[in-house]
Symmetry: C2
């Protein structure tokens, strides 16, 4: 038994991309984005100054370029026919020369597609663009790749379901251990460690994290507390919990790279009338969004429905962001539940639903649930209690 994506599913993904290349009369494609590489080749890696690329040719054969350092890892893990390696970066011969050789060998030549015109210049890497390397400017095929990744298979949704369970465990422990006088760091580390070790003992042999951001189940705080104002994505400080705090949490777990998102607003001690009112509006905003997510609607319709609630209740002073985003191998991905995204909502899409209210001095209020779009509505992949009573902690 394994939870992993099966070889046949990688083959379907590759076939879909190969068909797209054929439709566009392209001889092949080069992908550098690490998430695209793990999607098509099943090879997870932390991107560095040593370039890694996935190549597909018109016959549907896959190849990879990796540094010597990753050769055995790629040979053992990547679902491709051919792994080429170069000695090192920068080395005396630039790694892009090895990519040129791989492209020649696989018959990829003008016209071809790519996600970007060369390996991005990160962590000190410098090198030629694909245009400079090959003399041909690649056609940008990001749109197709993103569209393909946006519709999750049953197996992908199952991995997100599995992620939700371990995120849920981490969150239960986070809530249980959070008490006035303790610090954010000690509580979130304890909850995350216990959940991660349980996860490894439960499913360790049949799963891998395949993530370079998350190293197990985790639950923690996102820095939102009434006291220090309401900044959603601020980097966390080590706050000592006190009565009256409004806390916004976040929990997830990577399962073969797939992620869920669970966030809850919790209050320490009896909520004030103002806190209760904000909380209730936030839950109503989220309910409005759930009701609006339906196959055939547009993503922007969901944001529009939620914006109407902000309008109707005079809540615009507390708005900071759209309703949500797709999620899968990436913790954020498109489509976005945003007034500017008119893409159609389709079965198999998985979204976070997380409209928020941020009131300086009162707190940040946001739940986030992960839902899969079905043929006639949504399935909740997260299932943590949403009501204020369940989320009120003893003072």
């Amino acid at each position: 038994m394994t939870l992993a994506i099966q070889q046949s599913e990688y083959e379907e993904r590759l076939a879909g991309l190969a068909e797209q290349l054929s439709e566009r009369s392209l001889t092949g494609a080069v992908l550098f984005d690490p998430y695209y590489v793990v999607y098509y080749a099943g090879f997870a890696f932390a991107p560095t100054e040593r370039p890694i690329a996935f190549v597909l040719n018109a016959e549907g054969k896959g190849g990879m370029l990796v540094p010597r350092l990753e050769r055995e890892h790629a040979q053992a893990n990547a679902s491709v026919d051919h792994v080429a390696d170069y000695p090192e970066y920068p080395s005396e011969t630039h790694p892009m020369e090895s990519l040129r050789g791989l492209l020649d060998e696989m018959g990829v030549r003008e016209p071809f597609g790519a996600d970007q015109d060369g390996y991005p210049w990160v962590l000190g890497y410098r090198g030629p663009s694909l245009t400079e390397l090959t003399g041909a400017t690649p056609e940008k095929i990001t749109g197709f790749v993103e569209d393909q990744m946006a519709i999750k298979s049953a197996a992908e949704i199952e991995l997100i379901r599995e992620s939700s369970k371990w995120g849920n465990l981490a969150h239960v422990l986070l809530q249980r251990y959070t008490r006035p006088g303790l610090t954010e760091s000690e509580v979130s580390r304890r909850a995350s460690t216990e959940a991660s070790l349980a996860m490894l003992d439960a499913i360790g042999p049949i799963y891998r994290a395949q993530s370079f951001f998350f190293d197990g189940a985790s639950a923690g705080y996102r820095g939102q507390i009434g006291r220090n104002a309401a900044i959603p994505h601020a980097l966390a400080n080590n706050i000592v919990f006190q009565e009256g705090d409004v806390l916004v949490t976040g929990a997830t777990a990577p399962v073969w790279g797939y992620l869920s998102e669970l966030e809850r607003t919790m209050v320490i001690g009896e909520p004030s009338a103002e806190q209760r009112q904000m909380f209730d509006h936030m839950v109503a905003l989220q309910d409005t969004a759930f009701a609006a997510i339906t196959p055939g609607a547009r993503c922007s319709d969901v944001d529009r429905a939620v914006r109407k609630y902000y309008d109707d209740h005079g809540l615009w002073d507390y708005w900071k962001h759209h309703v949500g985003h797709a999620i899968g191998l990436r913790y954020h991905e498109g489509p976005f539940l945003d007034i500017g995204d008119d893409r159609e909502i389709k079965p198999g899409m998985v979204f976070t639903v997380e409209p928020g209210l941020y009131a300086a001095g009162v707190g940040g209020f946001r739940h986030s649930d992960t839902v899969a779009v079905t043929d006639d509505g949504i399935e909740f992949l997260t299932y943590y209690p949403r009501d204020l009573e369940s989320l009120t902690l003893p003072a």
Copy 2:
């Protein structure tokens, strides 16, 4: 008291960049790389599909573009004169329109510089290049930025020194807790948690992590064990330690974004003759590198000296990578101690020194130390024992 980089130092950095713009007759520069933004503006953020940019004009004034969500955070933290924000991504008006407005307002027009031609298409982001947005192709100024970042100030080296202390603590605990029968995850989480909580109690009020990869002091294993072959950067599995294992560790801690790197090779139980021989060669390789790092030499000279040792002792079967890399705000950065990097070694550069030997079935052997180049040699910023006796664990 604070450990933070002082405002005057940010001003010097900006003055250096402004001078460069002036020399190249550019009206300004746009930077998207998050490490460049934290270097010049002191603003740390996790890059997402919501674009963030730093802008400098020819007068040396700095500006930032951020999403609404990050407005207060940027206003409170960024060392710039002007923070512009856009409501959301994608929204009805593309965020790049707001960037266009900021550039106009700051007088940045053709010719101008940039690190890349537009915000990278990550996590579902799509948008116009700077060329498409402005009609002018920006001049790539990455080379200057990288050169400036490569020479660390006394204050930056002090932060790397501080990082080393907490990485050292995490490593001491990692070594202390590693015993046969325990798992990699439980040991590394225990060591990392205890070191991080101690770090927060000791210096919490005068420091911030400013890192989106590391959330405190950490020490763990990099997957190298004789048993499962020798793959340096493999994602870790949860191995149960046994007698005879050869372990390669890694420890660091982010201090205002700055990182050190400490890695050690440890053996559980009495090392075999083969393990001892590999270990001794590895230490000799590292000593060879230390001796070769001297101001005025080229980076390639160091790799060449170390390669001669591989030559002289017939060790090429065990080679996988170059000697090391610069380190600072990024866990890898240039210059590289690599045969292909002819840049001159200068005082203020900080390098990791980590030649390795990888023998299938025996183990991976690598120490990594972080050293600062001085006027006449190197200063060790890491100081963990390097000898086999100190690194042999009870079976």
